[in-house]
Symmetry: C2
Subunit: 349 residues, 2 copies
């Protein structure tokens, strides 16, 4: 499914790729109105028969759920932050198609202890995100649920969706900013408890801990960067839900090629680096496997790379190579040695 890869990417209960492919077989589009279905960041739909002739604009839709105990804990984030975050993480899938966002629907499962006040705070957070991205919340559904979940459907439009599958060997892989903050924020909570961000941690000043917390609590969907990358010539695009290595693998697999990521080039969030070092973790690998980042990864043809790298924050992190059978992604260390990473992304707790 469009985002079927997401949360199961690192779950070990069953083979994610096999599971998603099995789902894809059961749900293969039949009617012709779906141009791009399961397997990309979002689905692309021709709105109507008349639109197909008269209008090149396509409807782009995606759904993304965040679930208590899997994607968040309520002692980490306020209800306001949860509502905001749920909308933005869903919107990120539209950014990953270089679409323009338009509307959202919110499906909310509310445990008894959330209360009406908590539910309204979630809605307030969602409304705040909607204003920030100039979209409308067009509707939704509320239900009781023992487990708190927020499933957000987003819709947008584009006349030229940028999929995962357009990359070719020789393309340069770029990323739209430094990585690792989300993983570092989670690790500070796991170390110090939910109030860890109120003091100093691992020698980091409070301002740095606050920045890390904000990266996780208030992510940003990269619409501006997506449109700039498309103008610069990008021909494949994906957002980082599970980690740079995991997303590079998805992009390469969809493009029938193999991605190579240079660990030395992975841009590392400054505050996150201090956390990783203090914890004795390789900062580049930690940044390259940090999920929930929502930076974008793009494949740029060699002739266009100068324009792409001129964009603010855009950094070269690797390249697309001819397909090696069974290999989606390789990492290259500082000595030039290629190896298969043993963990591609971030395992939800």
């Amino acid at each position: 499914m469009a985002r079927m890869r997401r949360q199961e990417a690192t779950a070990n209960r069953f083979d994610e790729v096999a599971f998603c492919e099995a789902i894809g077989r059961k749900l293969r589009p039949r009617r012709g109105s779906v141009e791009i279905g399961i397997g990309d960041d979002a689905a692309v739909i021709v709105a109507s028969a008349s639109a197909r002739r008269a209008d090149r604009e396509r409807l782009v839709v995606s759904v993304d759920a965040i679930v208590e105990g899997v994607h968040f804990r309520r002692d980490w984030l306020s209800e306001l932050e949860l509502g905001y975050r749920a909308v933005v993480t869903a919107l990120s899938d539209l950014a990953a198609m270089a679409a323009t966002p338009r509307w959202a629907l919110i499906s909310l499962g509310m445990p008894g202890d959330l209360g009406a006040a908590g539910a309204l705070e979630i809605v307030r957070g969602a409304a705040r995100a909607a204003r920030a991205y100039r979209i409308d919340v067009a509707g939704g559904d509320t239900t009781r649920s023992e487990t708190l979940f927020i499933s957000v459907t987003v819709g947008g439009s584009t006349d030229s969706p940028l999929t995962r599958s357009g990359a070719s060997p020789g393309d340069v892989l770029v990323v739209t900013g430094s990585l690792g903050a989300a993983s570092a924020a989670l690790s500070t909570w796991q170390d110090a408890g939910p109030r860890g961000h109120r003091g100093t941690l691992n020698g980091l000043p409070m301002s740095a801990v606050t920045r890390l917390r904000r990266s996780f609590a208030k992510p940003r969907a990269r619409f501006r960067e997506a449109l700039a990358l498309r103008r610069a010539g990008a021909r494949a695009l994906i957002d980082i839900s599970d980690g740079l290595l995991s997303e590079a693998a998805h992009l390469a697999r969809a493009s029938k090629s193999t991605a190579v990521v240079d660990l030395a080039n992975v841009p590392i969030h400054r505050d996150a680096r201090s956390i990783f070092v203090a914890r004795g973790i390789d900062p580049a690998l930690a940044a390259a496997t940090s999920g929930e980042e929502y930076a974008l990864v793009a494949a740029i043809p060699p002739a266009k790379i100068r324009a792409a790298l001129a964009l603010p924050g855009v950094v070269r992190v690797g390249e697309i190579t001819p397909r090696r059978p069974g290999v989606d992604v390789l990492v290259r260390d500082r000595t030039g040695t290629l190896s298969r990473p043993d963990a591609l992304g971030w395992r939800h707790f």
Copy 2:
């Protein structure tokens, strides 16, 4: 929100109407692309600026979640049935707008004990519903969740959505078929346990119990009826999620009027009637408050009522009257006495 009324309609933890209105205030559309937002069965969206001029066809979207322990128990329905049912109940909101269904997105929260096989059965059920209604499952999201949930977003199109708010005093209220089967099926399970449908119950033959079970397990979205009612002149439409009385109340409230339902005219499912009688419940009231029915309720102007009643299964159940302050719906008994019903719908267990 579009379906915000639904599952909370009969919950007593907080005032549903106040809650939904509070949500509506926080989420009022701002951008002009949403023609109909929160408060109807589905949202209606103008696809693009160019479509607004060139094309009268609108995008109609809705989301609906079913949650374990609230809308179903896994010992009542198979995973295949759950997937089928989740898609159809979401589609029913498009039928209630007289829209043509086109696509669905599925957001699935999977507890550990469901397993990959169970998840794939849900997907298989969803795919079966998609085939039955000639739509595509365009994508989705899977995640772990302690509580099993299936949140289905559906999209369709129409050039003339039929809302809840178009009724006028004098209109006749009709319903598209007999009611009570869903409630009766649930009561047989509650009496006899999940295997109750395998034997006879309350003197009903197995075939009758099986029919009741099927009504709940395999509901039908009334697209054909909706289009026929529109052609016949219906000017307001809603589907029965919570019960006829509850939906008549929603329709009347949205239309700034008061609905009157004649209990003597409520069509009662034959097998359900036997169950209600055996349980000592008034069959008409039980049928009028049975949720999860997905029959449609329409308001028909008096001049068109003959055409509407000529449609198969369509029955007159009441009328729209001038607004009585604070009163959405009244029931009229066999003696002609009007009273306010004390329970409008079905409380989720």
